[in-house]
């Protein structure tokens, strides 16, 4: 019984044992199943069930969406930079000097540097955390929180250090 509980298998109806004995593979892929779900609900015009508006936010949840947010943001910034390189006349040092001449002020400058550094640091450190999960390590809830706080701490320290450079 102990080994069985550890496997975490949950059966709701007893006769499923018999079905598993002669299990047949499903005829559809996961992607097809997901598409069927969305098609059916879109066709029936069903409203989406409230989720992020009612579920209590947790640190792992916030860290996860922040990872996505920094990723999308950084990707957008890189794409914008690449587009600018293709479209704008003049070269990089020219535009840097242009920014220099705007005399932006140390605090705003530091803040921008911090924002950039934090996005890169956080996404990198949390990315490493993800890679640990990908090899199966660190899934216990206390570990998730512990690694999470470490990522946040490291990100802040790194970004402050980089912004002060």
């Amino acid at each position: 019984l102990a080994t069985f509980a550890r496997q975490g298998v949950c059966l709701s109806r007893p006769h499923h044992n018999l079905l598993y004995r002669h299990a047949a593979p499903m005829g559809t892929t996961a992607k097809q199943e997901m598409n069927k779900f969305w098609d059916k609900n879109a066709k029936l015009n069903r409203p989406m069930s409230p989720h992020i508006t009612i579920y209590k936010w947790s640190v792992p949840m916030m860290m996860s969406i922040t990872h996505r947010g920094t990723g999308v943001g950084l990707s957008g910034a890189i794409s914008a930079f690449a587009l600018a390189a293709l479209v704008l006349p003049g070269n990089y040092p020219y535009y840097l000097d242009l920014l220099h001449s705007l005399s932006i002020g140390p605090y705003l400058l530091g803040l921008t540097k911090f924002g950039l550094a934090f996005s890169v640091s956080y996404h990198t450190y949390n990315g490493i955390r993800h890679l640990f999960w990908d090899v199966g390590k660190g899934f216990k809830i206390p570990e998730v929180y512990r690694s999470g706080y470490i990522v946040i701490g490291l990100s802040l320290i790194t970004s402050v250090a980089l912004a002060l450079l």
Binding site: S12, P25, A82, P142
Partner: protein, 158 residues
């Protein structure tokens, strides 16, 4: 017949995550007569067996997943290299790795939030266009301007 304890009656509600807690307590308990254990173990094995799932034998999704992680590790390694020995080789490698990592990452975002045949196709096409332009722009920047490593160095020396 197997008696099953319902999940809701077993899972503790509102547990404090910071306190160290045995992982076993959060799992559903199944009370089962002894002679059924063999079949349940078999069921568990069948469930976890990869080859029996899916209509096709395609490992495309699995390979994609692995490639994403390999690229992530590669990109991680490129950081120190870019800092310690900047130059055109690492500039172009960074351009490729960053663009591809971003392309695949945004692809996952699209998969999560965009649903429906036509919407998915349009979003994918848009993403492909964006990534192509991004890579072209970065390569152009590397070729006819200071290059990625130098650009970051200059930006920070501000």
């Amino acid at each position: 017949m197997a008696a099953v304890i319902r999940l809701s009656s077993v899972c503790r509600r509102g547990f404090k995550p910071l306190l160290y807690q045995s992982a076993l307590l959060a799992r559903p308990l199944v009370v089962v007569p002894k002679h059924r254990d063999q079949r349940h173990l078999l069921a568990a094995q069948i469930h976890s067996s990869q080859t029996l799932y899916g209509g096709s034998d395609s490992k495309a999704a699995s390979l994609h997943w692995t490639a994403e992680r390999v690229l992530s590790v590669l990109l991680l390694a490129m950081g120190p290299v870019a800092y310690l020995s900047p130059g055109p080789l690492i500039d172009y490698s960074l351009a490729a790795a960053l663009t591809l990592h971003g392309h695949w990452g945004l692809g996952q975002v699209l998969t999560d939030y965009v649903h429906g045949e036509t919407k998915e196709k349009m979003a994918s096409a848009g993403l492909f266009l964006l990534s192509t332009v991004t890579f072209a722009g970065l390569c152009y920047f590397n070729y006819s301007d200071v290059g990625i490593c130098r650009a970051v160095a200059l930006l920070w020396s501000k």
